[in-house]
Every structure is written in C-alpha cells, then in structure tokens.
Amino acid sequence: MVEEVEPHLQELRRGTVVLACLQLLCTPGYGYGLLEDLQSAGFATEANTLYPLLRRLEKQGHLTSHWDTGESRPRKFYQTSKQGIYLAQAMHSEWQTLSEAIDSLGDDPLTNEEK
C-alpha cells in the first residue's frame, strides 16, 4: 500500500522545496543550515538534492551567493534575488490557487468514506 502511495506523494512534493528555499533564503543561509531549516519546517529534503538545487537556482538567477570566511569554517551563503522573489510570489499564488481548487472538489475523501 505504502509503495503505491509514496511515488504520488513525492510527485506532489516536488517543486515545493524550490518555493520553500526561495522563501527561507530571503534571509541569507548556507547549505546544511538550510537543510535543517527545511526539515524542521516540514519539508523532507535530501542533502544530495538540495545542494545541486541551490546551484541550479543560482545559475538561473533566482539566488545570489557569497563566501563568508568570518566564521570558524568558510561557508557559501545564498540569498534570494529579486528575480527569485518574483518566482516565489508566482509559485505561492499558484499553490494557493491549487489549494482552493482542491478544496472546491468537496470534502476530504476519507470523511466521505466513513459516512
């Protein structure tokens, strides 16, 4: 049962990590710190998808980066660019539209079943 459900859930989650990153990185953050923030915010993300994703978003201009050498170990900090904020807004409103659309479909399937 779980094996059939999990791929569909992953399909739904895909893309939400991008939105979460763009929103969290409005205040600058670095790889591992962001990974922990995402996990505590409820976005199950793997390190090996997050790190390449950050680089891809940077390449596309949605993030900017700089090296912070002030602390004990040098870290690459990312921050959402103007373009990235625009993307986050677009994704956010799309998410809201989808969420309303799903609500308009009626009650939770489970509660229907119990009736």
Binding site: Y30, T49, P52, R55, R73, P74
Partner: protein, 327 residues
C-alpha cells in the same frame, strides 16, 4: 595513514565536474559535510560513524556530480529513444540478413564445403548484427548528448493515414538494400570480376579509378546511406532534405559524367573485349552517350521526386490551415 573519508568522497565527486566548478563545489561540499558530521557528533556519535552515515546519505559521488551539472544519466533520452528503436529494429533485420545471404551465396558460388558456407555466413551475419547495434546506438547517443536538433517538432499534421506505414520506411528499406547491393557489386567487380574471358576475370570498371575516384564514389554511397536514415528519422520530406537529395544526385552525376567523358570509367580490357566481339567504336560511343543520358535522367528524376514529395508534405499543412484564413 589513509585520507579521511570526506576528503575521498569530495575528490571522487569533483573529478566528474568541469574544472571551473571544482574548487567552488569542493569548498562548499567540504563545509556542508563538516556541518553534518558535527551535528551527528553533537548527538553522541563517534566521528567515524558520523562520517559514514553522512556520506552514505549523500550517495554515489558520480550521481551527485551528475546532478550538479544536469548531466543526463541515460544513454539515449526520450527525444531520440523512439527514432533509435525504429532504426535499430529495421537495420538489425535488414543488414545481417543481407550479409548472411551474400556471404552464403559467394561461398556457394566459389564451391566451398557446406560447413564452411554455414559457418562463414553465420559469423558474418552475427558480426553485422553487433556492428549495427553498436554504431546506430553510438550515433543516436551522440546526437542526444550534443543536443543535435532534427529540426522537427511533432505536429498534428504528421499523423499518418491509418493504412500508411511510418513515412520514410517504404523508402528506407529499398534505398539501403540498393546501396548495399551497389557496394557488393563494386567489390565483386574489382576483386573477382563479373566477366570471365579465357579463364581470366575482367573488371568492368577501370581498376585505375582506385584510390581517388573510387573513394569518391564510396563517399557518395556513404552519404546516400546517411541521407536515407536521416529521411527515415525525420519521417517526412522537407525543403532542406530535397536540397540535400539534389546535391547528392548532382555529385553522383558529376562523378559519372566526368569519368565517362574522359573515357576513364570502364576498364581497357572490357572495351577491347567489346571491340574484338564486333562492336564498332561508333556503337561504343553511342552507348556511352545513352549511358550518360540515362544517368542524367535517373539523377534528375530522383532529385525531382524529392522536391515533389517535399512540396506535398508542405502543402498538406497549408490546405489544413485554409479554412481559418478564409473566415
């Protein structure tokens, strides 16, 4: 002392990356791994266990590197998979069969024992099978990786009539068979000879054409084979294809006419043989003219055929759109 695991992991990852990315990814990955390892140690794990857990979660370094640079992890992607599969299936049926039959026929004519005929033709057929598989896949994988554009995007007008086959396949098979037979005939003529006279093999084409003129002909045949496959992959005629087809026809025509006009096309022996059998020089001259005209007509027809088909392919689009523009 051996290099620590994280360092080995990072080295294994960045070696797959382009040089300009290596230093940056190296430093960032090192910091990220250190952060993660420390977090595990803070929870009471040994350093070595923590490193193992963190690196195992990151997974195969080659996969990580590939996702850093968006490198495809498949040989042939969805864009070319179907074209590759169609071409491969067709060629895997045609080419080994042709080779099998030709080798078997050749050995049979040469009077080889049955065991040798079977063994040799099976071995040739098998090796043709392997070669076709390898080369076709190599060409398509290269096309996929270099982002080679076939210039064709699917549109609704391409939907075939239910009774028609995949466009181009009716042309692909005869073209390939014809070109293959031509190659075999060339080789047979030059190496064994079609004409036997006084127990001596006489080549029809001038052996002195080797190497340059003959290599030129082989190059033209190779281009024709490439063109037949390209036409099959695109699935329909278009103006650039008709143009290429015309260029190839002109190339072949120039090759044949130049050699014919210079009297270098046929071997001296075959002309001597014809003269000694009662043909007059005048008759040979007229035959040469007829041959030249024949080549010209065939090339012109082939070229025109391409243009007609490409116009038809183009006009089927236009007529579909007309109702919208008349409103």
């Amino acid at each position: 002392m051996t290099t620590p695991l994280p360092e080995r992991y990072i080295a294994a990852t960045v070696k797959h990356l382009p040089a300009d990315l290596q230093a940056d990814v190296h430093a960032e990955l090192a910091a990220s791994i250190d952060d993660a390892v420390e977090a595990h140690i803070d929870q009471g794990e040994e350093r070595e266990t923590a490193e193992r857990v963190v690196l195992t979660e990151l997974g195969d370094p080659a996969v990580l590197a590939a996702s850093y640079v968006d490198r495809p992890l498949q040989l042939i992607g969805p864009r070319y998979y179907l074209a590759w599969w169609r071409v491969l299936k067709l060629l895997l049926i045609i080419v080994p069969t042709v080779f099998f039959v030709l080798v078997a026929g050749g050995h049979f004519l040469a009077g080889s024992p049955l065991g040798e005929i079977i063994g040799e033709s099976l071995a040739t057929g098998l090796s043709a099978f392997v070669h076709v598989g390898f080369w076709v896949t190599l060409v398509f994988a290269t096309m996929d990786r270099t982002g080679f554009e076939t210039g064709e995007t699917w549109d609704i007008d391409q939907l075939p009539e239910p009774r028609k086959e995949h466009p181009g396949s009716q042309e692909l098979v005869p073209s390939l068979v014809f070109l293959g037979l031509m190659l075999v005939a060339l080789a047979w003529d030059q190496l064994r000879g079609f004409v036997q006279h006084n127990q001596e093999a006489i080549p029809v084409l001038n052996p002195e054409l080797w190497p340059w003129a003959m290599l030129g002909l082989l190059a033209i045949i190779a281009l024709e084979i490439g063109f037949a496959i390209l036409l099959f992959v695109r699935g329909r005629w278009s103006t650039p294809l008709a143009m290429t087809n015309t260029i190839l026809a002109v190339l072949f025509f120039s090759w044949a006419i130049t050699l014919l006009a210079r009297g270098e096309l046929f071997s001296a022996e075959i002309i001597e043989l014809a003269l000694s059998n009662g043909a007059t020089p005048d008759a040979l001259y007229i035959m040469g003219v007829i041959l030249g005209l024949g080549v010209g007509i065939i090339c012109a027809w082939d070229s025109a055929d391409g243009w007609v088909k490409s116009c038809r392919a183009g006009s089927s689009k236009v007529t579909e759109q007309q109702p919208a523009t008349t409103q």
